[in-house]
C-alpha cells in the first residue's frame, strides 16, 4: 500500500507539479490581496483535467507555498501577503529595518518548514483522534476560543493597551456591518448592497498595512531617490537561533495543528494566538515589537502547522477544516473521490499519497525559500521611488481582484489613510485586524450557543473544553500582571 502511494506521489510529473505549485503559491502569498484561498481557487480549474494524485498534490503545494509566502512581504515590506502573516510583520519588519532581513527570512523559512513537518506527523499518526477532539467543539467552545484569541490584543497593542483595546473593539464593531448570520437582519448597511456581506477584512488589512506603509515611505522619501540599501549578508539563522527555532516550532507547530484541526478556525487565528502565547511565555516580553526572533518563529511555525491540521477533518470526516480545504474537497469530488472515512477504505493509496505529498511540499518550500532569500531581499535594493508606486498599484489590484468589486478598493483606500494616521500617532493597527477576524466568531457563536441551550447561560461552562479556555483566558489576563508584580518584588529585594 505504502509502495503504491510512493509510486503515486513520487512520479516525476507529480513532483514537478508540486514544485511549480509551491513556487506559484509563494508568489501568490507574497502579493498583498492574493490570499491562500484565492491562490488555491485559481489553480482549481487547471486540476480538472488531471488525475487525482496530480490534482490534489498540486493544490497542497500551492497551499503550503502560499501560507509561507505571506511572511516574505511581511518581513521585507511590512506588508503581510496573507492574513496569516500579519502577526509575523510586527517583529519581522522590525528586524528587517535593523538590516537583518536575511536572518529574519531564514528563521521564518525554517520555522515554517518545521511547523509543516510536525503537522504532517500529527496528520499521519493521530488524525482520527484529533478529528474526534475537533468534533467536541460546539458554539460555546468556539465562543471561548474567540475570546481567548481576543485577549491577545494586549500583547500586540504596542504603546498603549487602552488604545489597542479600543482599536480591537473598533474592529469588532466594523465586523458587525452586513447581514447578521443569526437573525438575517441587515445591520449598518446604509442600504448599500456592497455592505450586505460585510466589510471584507482583506481590503482592510491591505489598507492598514500595505497602503499606510507606502504612505510612510512617501514621507521618508529623499529626493536622491535611493535610500542606502542595507546589504544582506546572511541568509541563514545565526547559530544561537537554532535552539530557539526548534523550541518554538515544536510548541507552536503542535498548537497550529490543533487549531487547524478545528473546523472554521484557520491560519490567521493560529498565528496571532502563537504570537500572544510566545510573548506571555517569554522572559523578555517587553522587547516584543522591536524585532525579537521568537516573535517570527512562533507565528510562522503555527501557521504552517495549520496546513496539516486543516486536512484532518477533510480526510477523516469529509468536512472542510478551512476555506482551502473546502476547495480541496471540491477538487477530490470532481475526481470521483469522496473525502471522508470512505477515502481511507476505498482509496488508501490516495490518502497516503496526500501524506507523502504534504511532506514533500514542505521540503520544496524549504529549498525554494532558502535558495531565494537573496533574491527576495533584492526587493530592498529597488529604489523607493519606484517601489512605492508599485505597492500603490498592487494594493489596488490586490483588493480589486478579491471579488472583482471596486467597492473593496474604496474600503482599502479609506483604511489606508486611517492606517497612515495611526502610524503617525504610533498606534499599532494589528488589533483592528484581530477584532475583525475574531469579532464575528465570538458574536455568532455566543448567540448560537444561547439558541442551542434555549437561553441557558451555563452552557458556556458545560464542558471541559470551555473550562479549559476559560482558565486560559484568566491566565492570559492575569499572568502578565503577576509577572510585573513578581519582578517588582524581586527588584525591591
Amino acid at each position: 500500500m505504502i509502495i503504491d502511494a510512493l509510486l503515486l506521489a513520487l512520479q516525476p510529473s507529480v513532483l514537478l507539479y508540486m514544485f511549480l505549485g509551491v513556487a506559484g503559491g509563494i508568489f501568490i502569498g507574497c502579493l498583498p490581496g492574493l490570499t491562500t484561498t484565492m491562490g488555491v481557487a485559481l489553480v482549481l480549474p487547471i486540476t480538472f483535467g488531471m488525475d487525482a494524485a496530480h490534482s490534489i498534490l498540486l493544490l497542497i503545494g500551492v497551499y503550503v507555498g502560499a501560507v509561507y509566502g505571506g511572511s516574505i512581504s511581511a518581513i521585507l515590506l511590512n506588508t503581510p501577503g496573507t492574513p496569516a502573516s500579519a502577526a509575523t510583520a510586527i517583529d519581522g519588519h522590525a528586524m528587517a529595518a535593523r538590516g537583518e532581513a536575511g536572518r529574519a527570512l531564514g528563521i521564518s523559512t525554517i520555522s515554517s518548514f518545521l511547523g509543516g513537518i510536525i503537522s504532517c506527523f500529527f496528520l499521519i499518526l493521530i488524525s482520527p483522534y484529533l478529528a474526534e477532539f475537533a468534533l467536541q467543539f460546539s458554539a460555546p467552545e468556539f465562543f471561548m476560543l474567540a475570546v481567548f484569541g481576543l485577549c491577545i490584543i494586549s500583547s500586540i497593542s504596542g504603546r498603549s493597551v487602552l488604545i489597542g483595546f479600543l482599536c480591537g473593539a473598533f474592529g469588532v464593531l466594523i465586523a458587525t456591518i452586513g447581514i447578521d448570520d443569526i437573525s438575517g437582519v441587515a445591520r449598518f448597511t446604509f442600504g448599500n448592497i456592497n455592505l450586505f456581506s460585510g466589510v471584507n477584512f482583506i481590503p482592510v488589512m491591505i489598507g492598514l498595512f500595505a497602503m499606510s506603509q507606502a504612505f510612510v515611505a512617501v514621507e521618508e522619501m529623499t529626493k536622491e531617490g535611493r535610500l542606502e540599501a542595507k546589504k544582506v549578508t546572511r541568509v541563514l539563522p545565526l547559530k544561537e537561533d537554532w535552539r530557539m527555532i526548534f523550541k518554538n516550532s515544536s510548541i507552536f507547530g503542535t498548537l497550529g495543528t490543533f487549531i487547524g484541526s478545528i473546523p472554521g478556525v484557520g491560519a490567521d487565528i493560529a498565528s496571532f494566538i502563537a504570537y500572544g502565547q510566545s510573548k506571555s511565555l517569554s522572559k523578555e516580553s517587553e522587547k516584543y515589537g522591536t524585532g525579537v526572533t521568537d516573535a517570527i518563529s512562533a507565528p510562522e511555525s503555527a501557521n504552517n502547522g495549520v496546513t496539516g491540521g486543516a486536512l484532518i477533518p477533510m480526510l477523516t470526516l469529509g468536512v472542510p477544516g478551512d476555506a482551502v480545504a473546502a476547495i480541496m474537497i471540491g477538487a477530490l469530488t470532481v475526481q470521483g473521490l469522496q473525502p471522508g472515512p470512505l477515502l481511507f477504505q476505498n482509496n488508501t493509496e490516495v490518502v497516503y499519497a496526500i501524506f507523502i505529498g504534504l511532506l514533500v511540499a514542505n521540503v520544496f518550500m524549504l529549498c525554494i525559500g532558502l535558495s531565494s532569500v537573496r533574491l527576495f531581499t533584492r526587493v530592498l535594493i529597488v529604489p523607493k521611488s519606484v517601489l512605492t508606486p508599485i505597492i500603490f498599484l498592487l494594493c489596488f489590484v490586490g483588493s480589486y481582484s478579491l471579488a472583482n468589486n471596486f467597492f473593496d478598493v474604496i474600503v482599502m483606500f479609506i483604511f489606508g489613510v486611517f492606517g497612515y494616521f495611526l502610524k503617525k500617532i504610533e498606534v499599532s493597527p494589528s488589533p483592528i485586524i484581530l477584532g475583525l477576524i475574531l469579532g464575528p466568531m465570538a458574536e455568532s457563536n455566543f448567540r448560537r450557543a444561547l439558541l442551542m441551550s434555549r437561553g441557558e447561560y451555563d452552557t458556556f461552562f458545560s464542558t471541559g473544553i470551555s473550562w479549559f479556555f476559560f482558565i486560559l483566558i484568566l491566565i492570559s489576563i492575569f499572568f502578565p500582571l503577576l509577572k510585573k508584580v513578581i519582578s517588582k518584588l524581586k527588584s525591591a529585594n
Binding site: 481557487a41 447578521d180 438575517g184 450586505f196 470526516l317 468536512v319 471540491g330 471522508g340 448560537r448 442551542m452
Partner: protein, 314 residues
C-alpha cells in the same frame, strides 16, 4: 416623390435588418463571461466552470467564469442585471434571486429584469440525522418535535436550507429551533459532533457522510426520489407536502436582443447535454435537471410567490 421616400425607407429597413442578421451571425464577437455570484471553489462555481468548458466550441473568442461575491449572491446578480445587454455578460442565478428581496436583503435585484435562458442543475433538501440518532424515520423525528423543540441546523438565516427547514415544520405543523450556521459544511460538522438533532441541507452536501455511515438521511424534500439515493423516501411519499430545493440557471439582462437570447439558450441546452458536462455532474454529486426558457420563467414566478409567503411568515 412619395414612392421614392417609401423605397428609401424600405431599403433602409432592408439594410438595417441585413445588418441585424449580419450581427446575428456575428455573435459572439467578443469574449463572453459568466458572472457567478458565489465564491470560487463552491458548487455554483464548479458547475458554471464545467458548463463554460462545455460551451467553449460555441464561443471561439472565449468564455470565462468571473466570481463576484457578496450579500448571499445579491452583489453578483445585481451586477449581472445592470450589465450591457449585448450577450457578453451571462449571470448565474439561483433561488436567492427570488428569496432575498422578500427578506429585504436583496438590494435592487429583481427577477423581472432578467431574461431567463435555462436551468441546468437542481438539488433538494434532505432531513439528515447522526447515524446513532434514535430517529429511524421522518415520522418519529416529527413526532418528537411536537413536544421537544429539536435543534435543526441550517446554512444561515434566510438561506434556502433554512427555508427548507421552515417548509418542513409548516408541513408537519411542528416547531423546530432553527440553528443558523455560516454555510452548510459548518452545520454538517456540528451534526457530526452530535450537537444538533438534524440538519436540512442538500443531499449532495451530506452524501459522502451518509455513504460512510456517519449520518442518516430520513427523507428528501423533493418531488421525486433522487437518482443518487433511490432508497431514501421523499417527504411527499410520507405524507408531508413539501419540496424545496435549489437550482442553478443562467440569465441575461432583459433588453438583450432575441437573436442573442436564442443563440445562448440553444448553446446552453446543448452544452448541458454534452458528455463531458454529464460526467462532471455525475462525479461531483450534482443532479442534471435541464429546464428550458419558458418553464424557467414560470418556475421563477411560481417560486417568487411561494417564497414571498414563506418568508413573510418567519
Amino acid at each position: 416623390m412619395k414612392n421614392k421616400i417609401k423605397s428609401l425607407l424600405i431599403s433602409s429597413l432592408v439594410i438595417t435588418s441585413a445588418t441585424m442578421s449580419y450581427a446575428a451571425n456575428n455573435y459572439p464577437e467578443n469574449a463572453v463571461r459568466i458572472i457567478v455570484p458565489y465564491s470560487a471553489g463552491g458548487g455554483s462555481d464548479s458547475v458554471s466552470r464545467a458548463l463554460a468548458e462545455a460551451l467553449k466550441p460555441k464561443f471561439p473568442e472565449g468564455i470565462a467564469v468571473e466570481n463576484r461575491t457578496g450579500g448571499a449572491g445579491s452583489v453578483g446578480m445585481s451586477y449581472g442585471m445592470h450589465a450591457k445587454p449585448n450577450g457578453e455578460t451571462i449571470t448565474m442565478v439561483a433561488p436567492e434571486l427570488v428569496m432575498l428581496p422578500h427578506s429585504g436583503n436583496g438590494g435592487d435585484i429583481d427577477y423581472k429584469k432578467f431574461k431567463h435562458l435555462a436551468i441546468v442543475n437542481s438539488g433538494y433538501a434532505a432531513i439528515t440525522v447522526p447515524a446513532d440518532s434514535p430517529y429511524q424515520t421522518l415520522d418519529s423525528l416529527l413526532n418528537d418535535a411536537k413536544d421537544k423543540n429539536l435543534l435543526f441546523g441550517n446554512s444561515g438565516t434566510g438561506s434556502i436550507w433554512h427555508i427548507a427547514g421552515v417548509g418542513m415544520e409548516k408541513a408537519a405543523e411542528v416547531e423546530f429551533t432553527h440553528i443558523p450556521f455560516k454555510g452548510s459544511s459548518a452545520a454538517i460538522t456540528s451534526l457530526l459532533g452530535k450537537h444538533l438533532d438534524a440538519v436540512s441541507v442538500s443531499y449532495a452536501e451530506v452524501a459522502s457522510q451518509v455513504d460512510a455511515g456517519l449520518l442518516r438521511t430520513l427523507a428528501v424534500l423533493a418531488p421525486h426520489r433522487l437518482i443518487d439515493a433511490p432508497n431514501i423516501p421523499t417527504a411527499k411519499e410520507l405524507g408531508y407536502d413539501v419540496a424545496i430545493g435549489t437550482w442553478r440557471g443562467y440569465s441575461v439582462p432583459l433588453e438583450t436582443p432575441d437573436y442573442i437570447v436564442n443563440y445562448l439558450t440553444d448553446a446552453i441546452l446543448e452544452a448541458a447535454e454534452s458528455d463531458e458536462f454529464k460526467t462532471f455532474m455525475a462525479v461531483s454529486n450534482n443532479d442534471i435537471d435541464i429546464i428550458g426558457p419558458e418553464e424557467f420563467e414560470k418556475k421563477v414566478q411560481r417560486e417568487d410567490t411561494f417564497y414571498a409567503e414563506l418568508i413573510s411568515g418567519l
